[in-house]
Subunit: 184 residues, 2 copies
């Protein structure tokens, strides 16, 4: 099972990016979490270029299409979704393989909820499926943990593993539902 | 009085950009509306570059600082603020001259309200001041009007002029309040 992890922050020391790298490290056997590194290379969304998009957009869309599910972790900027993340999502609006995609929304700051709610509204409008048991909030802001620290801190590591496990269950359930819809 | 107009769409035939150009044409004597053309040149927001930002960001911030008020017109993408607009706003978070700035939020589609509400939450969090009597919704989506058509269609042109007039009043009120706070 292949998961694509997308961080909404371009900060080098981003706690959200660290969280996703910790998830990659903690993934159970048979599950691969790849952290997408190209968010900062995406051009600003332009509907005129939607049908024949720049190469960076094509790469992003391919990565999304090939993933069984997505992990998103993003900071909240001014009570809103981060601009770079919303820009990336804009390129996926109407992209058929995104419809029905299972998504876990990770939140590194218990005090932030506006962007989390806005993100759910946007993802739902894009016909993605937010897996709530896999969408966890962790008290990481200000905790001073990098990915090593997260992976080595039992309650944090356990919560991440539980989230990954819930996301896997959701994907397996989706597969069996799809199989049932298309019997041989 | 100088207003800066920011469109949230990079589409060449954007109805929001047309609306702002119509506003520029309809501005009363003594008021100048400049449409900002550099949104598409802004890099994706990166907190690491916030203190010493790229030149395009410096230009944008200067234009904002010099404006008496802002006009924002933006499409809604997947029930959210357009990525390019949110990205531009991210570069203004914590930019001191933006605090207290009077802003009119124009909406070209009566059916869209999620992004409008999200934009108000973001602007308020950034300490800008949304001028509600100047923030109008116009039935322009699908109306087939370009800026010439908007300026030549009485109910549309009148509503735009009323919005500009309300924004001017808000700026004058702000100035007199500031004068009263700092008597000679």
């Amino acid at each position: 099972m292949n998961l694509l992890a997308v961080s909404g922050s371009l900060r080098a020391a981003s706690i959200n990016s660290s969280l996703l790298r910790a998830a990659a490290r903690l993934a159970a056997p048979g599950m691969t979490v790849s952290v997408f590194e190209g968010l900062g290379e995406l051009p600003l969304f332009n509907p005129d270029r939607e049908a024949d998009p720049p190469a960076a957009v094509g790469t992003f869309r391919s990565r999304v299409a090939l993933a069984d599910a997505l992990l998103i972790a993003s900071p909240e900027y001014a009570h809103g979704i981060s601009g770079p993340l919303k820009n990336a999502l804009d390129w996926l609006v109407g992209f058929e393989p995104f419809a029905g995609k299972r998504v876990a929304v990770l939140n590194a700051s218990p005090r932030a909820h506006h962007a989390d709610e806005a993100l759910r509204e946007v993802l739902g409008t894009m016909s993605a499926f937010v897996v709530e048991p896999a969408s966890i909030t962790l008290p990481l802001l200000g905790a001073g943990l990098d990915e090593d620290g997260m992976a080595a801190t039992p309650p944090i590591a356990l919560a991440i593993q539980d989230a990954l496990s819930a996301l896997r269950e959701a994907v397996l359930l989706q597969r069996s539902a799809t199989d049932a819809s298309f019997p041989l």
